[in-house]
């Protein structure tokens, strides 16, 4: 297989950008979900926004990011309220309440998709699960030098610009509210007693998670969204004991997974004589999982192998 510069710029570059931006925005927020032991919230929200996206699409009559984003945030709000209601009224533990709400809402979204004809246009169930990285095309660049032209950048695919905007918002929010996010994640009671309402900060985090989930979902599908909320953050957690460093490492892990997964999916099969490329979102999730496994095995302080080695050395010398 010969890869031409045009093909790379038209097909692979936009997909790579979408994959990396989706991975980074979800991966960054994932740090706070994992630290709060609420990793499931990312999972729940990425599913329960589906009916909202469909309703937003139906009202707008076209694939309009703003409408779908508004619908998704509405659905996230309904979902969070339902989870709270079931938890309080039913006296059910919050993980179970989440499981009930997000499966029902996702199912409702699938039914809406199939019954309203939205499926024929752009959205369909497969797209919802696996995303559409491969169909994210950017046909304007004509060569490397054309990338210097701002007019070319103005024609970036909608998925990529949305993801870039959401990533910028996520980064800005984490930089501005770093201290608040940290104290609420560590000790919500103290935060509240100091005047940083844990409820307000958590609600803000849920809004960010919903935004990131929707933007990423459109490009890469819900499977990758879930993987990205959890894997980069927990990989980074194995490698450091400082939150700021953990955030940076999670960006690194997300970027590696995005690029590595896409490259393996798009080109890997040809290296082994295959004829078709693989699903990129799936492969990115696999790479994210592999990075996590490596970190669990090899991380200097918390890794399994270094710990075994230290124990062996103590026994050998003692």
């Amino acid at each position: 297989m010969i890869l031409t510069v045009e093909d790379f710029l038209h097909i692979d570059l936009p997909a790579l950008m979408a994959a990396v931006l989706a991975a980074v925005s979800c991966g960054l927020l994932g740090n706070f979900l994992v630290l709060r032991r609420q990793a499931l919230i990312g999972d729940a929200i990425s599913h329960l926004v589906l009916p909202g996206i469909v309703v937003g699409f139906l009202i707008a009559g076209e694939v309009l990011t703003v409408a779908m984003m508004a619908g998704a945030l509405g659905a996230a709000l309904v979902g969070v309220l339902l989870i709270e209601a079931i938890r309080r009224l039913g006296g059910i533990e919050s993980g179970a309440a989440m499981g009930v709400v997000f499966t029902v809402m996702f199912a409702a979204g699938v039914v809406l998709l199939e019954q309203t004809g939205s499926a024929a246009v752009h959205l369909d169930v497969e797209h919802a699960l696996y995303g559409a990285l491969e169909t994210t095309l950017w046909l304007t660049p004509t060569g490397w030098e054309s990338l210097a032209d701002p007019a070319v950048w103005a024609t970036l695919p909608r998925e990529v610009t949305t993801l870039a905007a959401v990533t910028a918002i996520v980064v800005a929010a984490i930089v501005l509210f770093y201290k608040e996010l940290k104290i609420v994640a560590f000790d919500p009671d103290l935060a509240t007693s100091l005047g940083f309402s844990a409820r307000t900060v958590s609600a803000g985090l849920v809004v960010l998670v919903a935004m990131a989930a929707v933007a990423a979902f459109d490009a890469v599908g819900s499977i990758l969204v879930i993987a990205m909320f959890i894997c980069p953050a927990s990989t980074a957690r194995m490698l450091t004991d400082r939150l700021s460093r953990q955030l940076l490492l999670s960006v690194l892990a997300a970027t590696l997974a995005g690029i590595g997964g896409y490259v393996l999916a798009a080109f890997g099969p040809f290296w082994f004589g295959g004829e078709n490329s693989l699903n990129a979102a799936g492969m990115i999730a696999v790479v994210a999982g592999a990075l996590q496994t490596l970190a669990m095995l090899l991380a200097p302080r918390y890794g399994v192998l270094p710990r075994m080695f230290r124990r062996w050395r103590i026994r050998a010398t003692g």
Binding site: G91, F177, E180, I183, A185, D187, L190, S193, L194, L243
Partner: protein
């Protein structure tokens, strides 16, 4: 049910002006899942001298603190701190929660956690600066923990973790402190450090209200006591309130012999 004298703390000295009264709770009722935990609690904390909240398990001691701080909803009741509603006195209040209430695997150093005590004064959106870190370090030093400033909190012993919490409370620079079982399961060095801090806070005229589980040591560390068991059983100075009769009411006649031995030494 309440037969024992309940000397209002305010009679011990000259009557306190409303604005000088550290804590005044009226008609506080709290329920979890429709089950009442605290009924109609009235309590007025005196200024001067640390106060122990004592009572059996499930008596609502922690709930009392959490309800006062607004961390659990109050069904009814009014809480005033230095004469103003508690909601408007956040800066005046410091809080040491139970050690088990947080995740010690969190990626934070001892210094990070102590600096959190300064967040209230730093305010929204402003970052933690070097001078805040220096302040935090000074508070760690106060509890003998300066050398562990950079240590991840999960790698500290239980007592050291408790001292980090204490340093964080000191960083809050509050006039009124609530502590939830700071002495629970700590080593001797930590117990001394906590006692030293209690004495120091007292010397500076700050009020400490402390859930305390150990009846043996209560009279050593505290000047006043609030005996709680769903309702207020008794409240007042240690010498007159921490009596066998009151303890038996609070503990429902359980552990009578043990209590008698304890109170006799008080």
């Amino acid at each position: 049910m309440l037969t024992t004298p309940q000397p209002s703390a305010t009679t011990a000295a000259a009557p306190l002006a409303e604005a000088d009264r550290p804590l005044s709770v009226r008609g506080l009722t709290v329920a979890y899942h429709h089950k009442p935990v605290l009924w109609d609690v009235d309590y007025s904390a005196p200024a001067g001298g640390p106060i122990a909240i004592v009572g059996p398990n499930g008596a609502g001691k922690s709930t009392f603190i959490r309800a006062v701080l607004g961390l659990v909803p109050r069904l009814s009741g009014e809480v005033r701190v230095f004469g103003r509603p508690v909601e408007r006195q956040r800066r005046a209040i410091g809080y040491v929660p139970q050690r088990s209430s947080v995740d010690w695997d969190f990626p934070a150093s001892a210094l990070d956690v102590v600096a959190m005590g300064l967040y209230g004064r730093i305010g929204w959106l402003r970052p933690v600066r070097n001078r805040h870190r220096e302040q935090a370090l000074a508070h760690l030093d106060q509890v003998g923990m300066a050398e562990f400033a950079g240590r991840q909190i999960g790698q500290l012993s239980g007592g050291q973790q408790q001292r980090v919490f204490l340093a964080r409370a000191l960083a809050q620079d509050a006039r009124l402190y609530f502590m939830d079982e700071p002495f629970a399961g700590v080593d001797a060095a930590t117990e001394r450090a906590i006692a030293k801090v209690l004495a120091e806070l007292d010397r500076q005229g700050r009020t400490v209200v402390c859930v305390h589980h150990d009846l043996q040591t209560a009279p050593d560390y505290f000047r006043h006591v609030l005996l709680l068991n769903g309702r207020v059983v008794a409240a007042g100075p240690m010498e007159t309130t921490f009596t066998v009769a009151n303890l038996q009411v609070a503990y429902g006649g359980l552990l009578a012999a043990e209590l008698a031995a304890t109170a006799a030494t008080a």
